[in-house]
Symmetry: C2
Subunit: 497 residues, 2 copies
């Protein structure tokens, strides 16, 4: 083994960062799932102290010379990839002056806090008072990150969520979707115009919902020796790869939302639980990107769990817990799980119309960050695109329009594309899987999900951050990301073509 | 306000330490109450990293000059007390060379791990192989702490658990107890020789036990907005003063053990929940000592919850959850909760015989640390004292004798006295309370526990670490610690005299 003292030393530094981040992940999960209200103030102070410490470790003056020295050492391919990811982390931590980070954090917290009331009050003008400053600071952030990376301003923000992906590529894909999506949605709605599917009759006791959720998590391969399912107001997957903490939320009058949410989070969880053990603690061992992460949750929720075959697996579990209802028949369940209705709200959107919500946000936030529009232009752009893409009139309805999302309130620009990238990736994975395994649907219907897990493990989970996102996609599916597979999937599932 | 820059700076340093310790308290609670088994390795590494960081902060080179400079500044009484406690923390952190801390930690972990099997196997000889090294390192620790503090060797260890308390004082108290305790236990057993109390009939469903436990916690003033009750293999009270995490353990065939354990932990919890808010983050704001902490749990469990009046409060709660059993009648409940039986095992001992278990451990560990005996002498000392104090023959029965406790395996010498100090303090608090409030027992019987809480808050909770332990005792009860009150309490409760 060749000597690589600099590389060894920066690996140790990253392992230390990983361990402190572990503490933050667990206390963050606790804050959302366990902490009583009066614990808030002390926890916020403790977490802020930890964040400052982690930031100090990530910006330690010894890192840059260490990274430069390591580049001169004899490293293998994985070590080179790790070094690349270490540089990414270093640039990310050092790109912004502390004053800007603090100002953006304060402005974002103020804007988000006020937004909770302003959204209810449909108060766009009030929102702008705070939002202007968030946008100003986000543009400053984009300018600095752009100077640092050589990327365009919006690309420099997006690269933090989707490394290696460029907005020109996304624009090329989204512009194609803009063409076929409205028509597809209309045709699907026409197809579904007949009698509505039977609605299951509640209430659905929480204990029964929990039992079904646990059974599905087991079916989907979640390792309960290395994770938990608990409850929180906003479901999420947290914790650490060695100990994944999923949450859901139960409502006795509707089990489907919690159930599909649990399946969605299980996709995230299995990615984390199956990241390669020897790489954990190093940037190389992290999940590749937000979009790739979403491709796992949507592979589980959309590709698998809303398929006709899966409805057959779900049906007996529901009958066992909630009684033998006609609504639980597989065909009816499948219809329930694939109902398409154009609506105002992104988080309530179905598989077919969801991309439209993302396309319009991408267009607006990109133009906003690049300085092509100002905050006052947002409602007009929103109304115009909701009309074109979904045929809905949102004029004056800010509450269900451009005030509906939390993402912009704290300046998380560049995040939205990841949702639809996830759907595109997931469709591309399953198209590849079907090419390799033509009887995939029959096997899923028979409850044999192993082929899906094996493929994900070989092509996604075990690869962690070894490749830039586009390279990972090419290696997994043999082609670059494109919308053909999602289009074909939607047409097959929703139009039977 | 006078300027005190050095004091202000060391307060900020301690606040930082407090916040990092917050993270460790929550992840420690999580490890015991929530963490799935495969999370262990990564958690151990993260917690070790945190411990090393906290140790680095506590031994920071800037602290000593800061403490010296602060002593020259114009401080009020509370600030002086805080400075005294900061010095205590500084001495504690700096007393031992890192090599000794690490060696003791390793030897202790090895000895404790092997002990779990050796206890079951009654393997005293095997235990000695590891235990010799633990004792050697503990003696070295005692020598260094003694040199550092000017205290005797055993006192220097005990001072970490019971600041200001000296083994000569304890010996004076315990030698008196050695005189009256065996006779008292015999007389109580004779008094209880008649028909046994009725036993409640199980099973007792966990949901019902949880409901009774929560009801009692509310009665005892636990603030559920600032804490939780969960389950763990070994019940404990953890978390932070702002967010107290209690645990218990349920067995369906016996509800009393969990219930009294929950009441015991609620005593610890209320102390933490009522530490003075403005002092939190500073050493001044910490609970005074292990013995004072135990005085709170035993005030709740022994003084309050095993009283005849409290049995009347408990009775309807049990009937509501587990049905109307004759065994739940207040008189019978009281008899159940005050049964005295001499036995081998400390953790199963009743209120009357428990001190005997502590007295013998105190004698042995003190002699061991002072070098008056060697590890080979322990069984002989144990057998002799168990015979004298409790009339039990433990010869050759190491499993139920000197191998029964975890405390010595990792070298926690000096801790055992705190248990009985807690019982003595608690009896002294209640004697004081009764002098001030002669109808206390009637008020407790009527469900009015407020006088107890008000007294504890005024004399114990709100005082935190303001005084050395003996001074706190004098201020609260008007006299120094003595065994008269415990003796009178036991005679009144168990002999009706």
């Amino acid at each position: 083994m060749k000597s690589k003292p600099a590389y060894t030393q920066i690996c140790a530094a990253h392992l230390r960062i990983y361990r402190f981040q572990h503490l933050g992940s667990i206390t963050g999960w606790d804050r959302n799932a366990m902490m009583p209200p009066k614990g808030h103030e002390a926890r916020a102070a403790a977490e802020a102290e930890l964040s400052a410490h982690v930031h100090a470790l990530r910006t330690d003056a010894g890192l840059e010379p260490g990274l430069r020295a390591a580049a001169e050492e004899s490293l293998d391919d994985d070590e080179r990839a790790n070094l690349r990811e270490m540089w990414r982390d270093w640039r990310d931590a050092n790109a912004l002056p502390a004053a800007l980070v603090q100002a953006k954090s304060l402005a974002g917290a103020r804007c988000e806090h006020a937004w909770r009331g302003q959204r209810k009050a449909n108060d766009w003008a009030g929102f702008l008072d705070n939002f202007r400053e968030v946008v100003r600071l986000s543009r400053e952030e984009a300018r600095l990150r752009s100077a640092d990376t050589g990327l365009g301003r919006y690309d420099a923000l997006m690269d933090r969520f989707e490394p290696g992906m460029r907005s020109a590529d996304i624009e090329a894909i989204f512009s194609g979707m803009r063409e076929w999506l409205p028509d597809l949605a209309s045709r699907v709605e026409a197809t579904q115009a007949g009698p509505a599917p039977l609605m299951p009759e509640g209430p659905f006791p929480v204990a029964g919902q929990r039992a079904v959720g646990h059974a599905l998590m087991r079916l989907l391969g979640f390792d309960f020796e290395a994770g938990r399912l608990d409850e929180s107001a906003h479901p999420f997957t947290g914790g650490v790869p060695e100990d994944v903490r999923m949450t859901t939320r139960y409502r006795e009058e509707d089990f489907l939302q919690s159930l599909m949410g649990t399946i969605h989070e299980t996709g995230h969880a299995r990615y984390e639980q199956n990241l390669p053990r020897p790489w954990l603690g190093q940037p190389l061992g992290q999940a590749r990107s937000f979009g790739i992460h979403e491709s796992q949750s949507l592979s589980f929720e959309m590709q698998l769990a809303r398929s006709r075959g899966f409805a057959g697996l779900l049906s007996p579990l529901l009958c066992e817990q909630f009684g033998n209802q006609a609504a639980f028949a597989p065909d009816n369940l499948f219809r329930l799980l694939t109902r398409v209705r154009r609506g105002f709200i992104r988080v309530e959107a179905d598989e077919v119309t969801y991309p439209a919500h993302v396309v319009l946000r991408f267009e607006i936030e990109r133009a906003l960050i690049e300085g092509m529009i100002e905050v006052e232009d947002i409602p007009g752009w929103w109304d115009e695109r909701m009309g074109t893409l979904l045929g809905l009139d949102t004029r004056g309805n800010y509450r269900d329009g451009c005030l509906q999302d939390v993402h912009w309130t704290d300046g998380s620009f560049g995040y939205f594309p990841s949702y639809t990238l996830g759907a595109l990736y997931a469709a591309q994975w399953f198209a590849t899987l079907r090419r390799e395994l033509p009887d995939l649907d029959q096997r899923v219907a028979a409850g044999d999900l192993a082929p899906v897990f094996l493929w994900m493990d070989a092509h996604i989970w075990s690869q962690a951050s070894r490749w830039e996102t586009p390279e990972l996609v090419r290696r997994a599916s043999g082609e670059t990301l494109n919308a053909n597979h999602l289009k074909a999937h939607l047409e097959r599932r929703y139009l039977g073509s």
